[in-house]
């Protein structure tokens, strides 16, 4: 198969995503009062309603509707003033009523968009003409959102005795209804994405947005955020769509990207050999890095959709929508812009910090404790050191950043200090002093060490004068060793260069 970059020279990929997000932060299920928890004993959180017992009726969870309206406002959607729940019928025991409560042609929120900022290597995948690129190759891709609707999740089935937990060959199938009735929101994009990188960025941005809203834990690993991709190819310049395939099991950003990249190349090969792409559902196998056919769709399934007569149409009042709007937190884009203007952060650093709302709040709390001159160091520490540690507190990060900024620690030492204080309430300053880690910036003391090193390293000094400036690194190392690590390498460097140039 050809490389993605080559394929995209000849073909334009048309990609749309369907993203399911479980509203895991709610207390109760979508249509009954059962607790939302996947960690409890199987079938601990069930009632006549979510078990579909005879005579039980659904009652919608108003908090779930607030969540979806907030998701819509955050993705520039229109809040539909009147929408309805529909019933989607299929016989399978993971759906106790044998129909799923979902929405019909009108969803709670519709017609939105998210603007993707695409830069770096991934920006090359999108060829010009289809988008305005900046001189550095970066661009903004506006991705339209068709709708976000609400539906209930199915129960979890465990097939025992068969291969790989599949139902085929299983001797028993156990059903855990704890998950049954979990409110899901399904976002459907228009087919506006053109590259696997854009798809990955869209999913990342959506995840950051939903995390900021606090409507879900957004864990792709645990399946609380799941994504299906639709992709088709067309010759560059064509305006009609090709036949699409649907990709499943895209349960990480990497899987999403790699599966789309594979599928684009596979379809290109089929088409270039004169074949036709079949409309089918394909499963991504991460271990073998390929997609395989799950099932071929020859006819559309008939789900016998009709409006749920147990649930009256929803007329969302202005007051309700305004209440949701008032609860909206600062979204990642706005937060990023604020970091750039308030503290002069670089765009990339700001984006990394706002990706997770907990990280951003932590950063802001530390920032409030440090001098403005320490900010660049703090950002460096937040982006490059802090993510590796589980339980640092704000004071610890502030104090280590301060020590780094005054050159009392090296970056490597800062990491060592974090290792020592992580998960404790120890004061980094005390740890540094107790262990004698504080680096000397005393010019006289360090100068004496530099003089001693230059004296015994004549050949390296000669190399320097012959034009090999890199040898300074070796000399710094010698100084560090002579000082038993207590000298500041930056100071040594400055002193060495000053003497060598003298």
């Amino acid at each position: 198969m050809r490389r993605l970059a080559d394929v995209l020279e000849d073909w334009e990929a048309v990609i749309g995503l369907e993203v399911h997000t479980a509203l895991t932060t709610l207390e109760t299920k979508m249509l009954c009062g059962c607790r939302l928890s996947h960690d409890d004993e199987p079938n601990a959180n069930v009632c006549p309603i979510c078990l579909g017992m005879p005579g039980a009726l659904p009652v919608p969870n108003e908090k779930a509707i607030e969540s979806i309206v907030m998701a819509g406002l955050a993705t520039n959607c229109e809040v539909m003033r009147r929408s309805m729940f529909y019933r989607k019928h299929y016989f399978y025991p993971d759906m106790a009523k044998n129909f799923q409560t979902t929405q019909g042609p009108v969803a709670f929120v519709m017609h939105g968009h998210l603007d993707l900022e695409v830069s770096g290597e991934g920006a090359c995948e999108r060829l010009g003409a289809t988008v305005d690129k900046r001189p550095d190759g970066s661009y903004v891709a506006p991705i339209r959102i068709l709708r976000i609707h609400m539906e209930e999740d199915a129960a979890k089935m465990n097939h025992l005795g068969g291969a790989e937990g599949r139902i085929g060959g299983a001797s028993e199938s156990l059903i855990d209804y704890n998950r049954c009735g979990t409110p899901l929101i399904e976002l459907v994009t228009e087919p506006d994405l053109r590259t696997p990188e854009e798809a990955r960025l869209f999913m990342e941005k959506l995840r950051q947005t939903f995390l900021a809203l606090g409507i879900s834990d957004c864990s792709m690993e645990k399946g609380s955020m799941r994504c299906d991709g639709n992709v088709s190819l067309r010759r560059r310049g064509d305006t009609h769509f090709g036949t699409k395939t649907e990709l499943k099991n895209l349960n990480s950003f990497k899987s999403l990207h790699d599966a789309l990249a594979y599928e684009i190349c596979r379809q290109a090969e089929v088409l270039e050999e004169g074949g036709a792409v079949r409309q089918e559902t394909r499963h991504w196998e991460p271990s073998r890095r390929r997609t395989v056919v799950m099932r071929v769709k020859e006819t559309a399934d008939d789900y016998r959709f009709f409006p749920d007569p147990d649930l009256a149409p929803f007329d969302l009042s202005d007051e309700f929508v305004e209440r949701c709007r008032a609860r909206m937190p600062e979204l990642p884009d706005a937060r990023r812009d604020r970091y750039m203007t308030t503290w002069g952060l670089r765009r990339l650093d700001a984006e990394k910090l706002v990706a997770d709302p907990a990280t951003a709040s932590f950063f802001e709390a530390v920032a409030a404790q440090v001098e403005p001159s320490v900010m660049p160091t703090l950002v460096n520490v937040m982006v490059n050191l802090v993510p590796a540690f589980a339980a640092l507190d704000e004071a610890q990060v502030a104090s280590v950043s301060g020590l780094l900024a005054e050159d009392a620690l090296t970056f490597a030492q800062a990491r060592e200090v974090f290792e020592l204080v992580d998960g404790t309430d120890a004061d980094p300053v005390r740890v540094v002093d107790e262990r004698g880690m504080r680096q000397s910036t005393d010019a006289d003391a360090l100068g004496a060490i530099v003089d001693e090193v230059l004296e015994r390293c004549e050949s390296q000094v000669q190399q320097y004068h012959d034009g090999n400036e890199k040898v300074v690194g070796f000399l710094v190392g010698q100084c560090m060793r002579a000082s038993k690590g207590s000298g500041n390498p930056k100071m040594f460097n400055q002193l060495l260069v000053r003497r060598l140039e003298a």
Binding site: P54, V59, H89, K97, N98, A300, D302, F305, F306, L311
Partner: protein, 498 residues
């Protein structure tokens, strides 16, 4: 001995128990005694809940002994259509599919009757899953009309109407999707009320047509029915039913109000309709005269789209039934076909052998009507008819306070006399529009047929949520006829002594 349960109204029983004239346990025993001696003939009951009844009665008596205030239905013997959940009973819907199903919880309407102090005597026969108007489609046995055991009691709440008519219980609850309370009440000569949609909670009542179903009481007196309405609406809106409303009020308060000067509509075209038995027609005309004698203004009104109501109803009701009955697959509860190799085999054979022919017919019809391409032509068209019929009623009720019409085109017929399902569907013509529009209706016995000697009910329909006003007209009609509190003659005094 105080007399017979046959002669006592619900209010007299509750008052007697509260005063200590007799105990709730004695009343329960009398009701059990009446059931023992009468139900062999009517076959109204599917289960008699003797233990539950005696335990509830004992609680009522203990509460009285402790000086507690008793409910308005204290000690009143009540039974429930078998599509209503009551913990301690099976809820079968008269179907093999749910024959083994033990209620996991109690329906709101049942609980509210119990909260008012009623004594639960058991579960009553019905057409399977409420599909029918004879009670003959019960998977277990038919129920007989207490006025003539060779005839049907009507349906689908035929067990409820028969048990009350034969004096086995004082009150029963039924459910009405297209006339299933009013038609059997009419055929048995008792009072049956279908409240406006949303007045009574549907939670715990096995759904047939969710947008049409409504629970209501059947009794031998308008006053008994009003008392039951108080109990069913006490406590306001049921938060477990998203379509229920807060309709708490005293439905007894306006029973004796005069109807002088108030307008009652009649629809001449309906009385001319082919298929309307002459004895029913003349009974309805007499009822109109009696209302006029009581001072009502009789006016002609029209519901021009009523002719389309049967077609619209059988589309909407079948679609909802298909969807509502999908959950019965033998996986979690109910009938499960033994010895199946695959899931698909298990659910299809459980359904094939669990459901009777009418239940299958309705579900297949609904499955077809909801399929893509067909849905637009039928379901959406039926919803438009629904809008038109609702508008017809609004126009009519701008002129009149109630509309008078038959509840059934004929008196009760003999078992098996009508075997064509379509002919049975057509007999629902007088009751169906009311469910489609969601307003209230009641059948009041107005006399015996001049040809058949069988009871005839007149139906009164009122505007949505004018249920209390409708009861005023029903009471006025009851006062003018001689059917108040009547137990079918063959059963009077057969057991049930207090």
């Amino acid at each position: 001995m105080m007399g017979s349960l046959d002669a006592l109204s619900a209010r007299q029983i509750a008052t007697g128990v509260t005063r200590g004239d007799f105990s709730a346990t004695e009343v329960a025993q009398a009701s059990l005694d009446a059931i023992a001696s009468r139900d062999g003939k009517t076959q109204a009951f599917l289960q008699v809940s003797e233990e539950l009844a005696l335990a509830a009665a004992a609680r009522t008596d203990a509460a009285r002994a402790a000086g507690e205030r008793l409910g308005p239905l204290a000690g009143v013997p009540v039974a429930f259509k078998d599509n209503m959940n009551l913990v301690g009973t099976r809820t079968t819907c008269a179907s093999r599919m749910l024959e083994p199903y033990e209620s996991a919880y109690t329906a709101t309407c049942v609980q509210r009757m119990l909260d008012a102090g009623a004594t639960p005597l058991g579960k009553l026969n019905m057409d399977e899953f409420a599909f029918g108007s004879t009670t003959d489609s019960s998977a277990f046995h038919p129920t007989n009309n207490p006025w003539d055991l060779t005839r049907v009691p009507g349906g689908s709440s035929g067990g409820s109407a028969a048990a009350v008519t034969a004096g086995e219980v004082t009150l029963a609850l039924g459910s009405d999707t297209g006339g299933s309370i009013r038609q059997p009440a009419s055929l048995c000569g008792v009072v049956g009320m279908k409240p406006s949609y949303g007045v009574v909670s549907r939670y715990g009542v096995v759904a047939f047509g969710s947008s049409l179903d409504q629970v209501g009481p059947i009794g031998r007196r308008v006053e008994d029915v009003a008392l039951a309405m108080n109990a069913l609406t006490a406590g306001g809106r049921d938060r477990l039913d998203a379509t229920s409303r807060d309709c708490t009020q005293d439905y007894l308060a306006h029973l004796e109000d005069p109807i002088e000067g108030r307008a009652v509509g009649v629809i001449p075209a309906l009385l001319e309709a082919e298929g309307l038995a002459p004895e029913v027609r003349s009974a309805i005309e007499r009822a109109a005269h009696k209302l006029a004698d009581a001072g009502a203004r009789i006016m002609e009104v029209d519901l021009p789209n009523m002719a389309s109501s049967i077609a619209a109803y059988y589309v909407l009701a079948s679609c909802e039934a298909f969807s509502n009955l999908a959950r019965f697959d033998g996986v979690r509860y109910g009938y499960q076909e033994p010895g199946c190799a695959t899931l698909a085999e298990q659910s299809s054979l459980s359904r094939a052998h669990g459901f009777g022919p009418e239940a299958k017919r309705r579900q297949m019809l609904g499955a077809y009507l909801l399929s893509s391409g067909v849905y637009e032509r039928y379901y959406l068209a039926a919803q438009k008819v629904r809008t038109l019929i609702t508008a017809d009623y609004q126009r009519a009720f701008a002129q009149v306070d109630a509309i008078l019409m038959p509840a059934s085109p004929t008196v009760a017929w003999e078992h098996g006399a009508i075997s064509d399902p379509a002919a049975l569907y057509l007999a629902d013509v007088y009751t169906i529009s009311n469910n489609i529009a969601g307003n209230c209706g009641i059948s009041v016995p107005v006399g015996l047929g001049t040809d058949s000697g069988m009871p005839i009910g007149a139906q009164l329909q009122g505007p949505t949520f004018a249920d209390a006003s409708l009861l005023t007209f029903a009471r006025a009609l009851e006062r003018a006829c001689d059917m108040e509190g009547v137990v079918a003659p063959a059963f009077v005094g057969k057991g049930g002594e207090l």
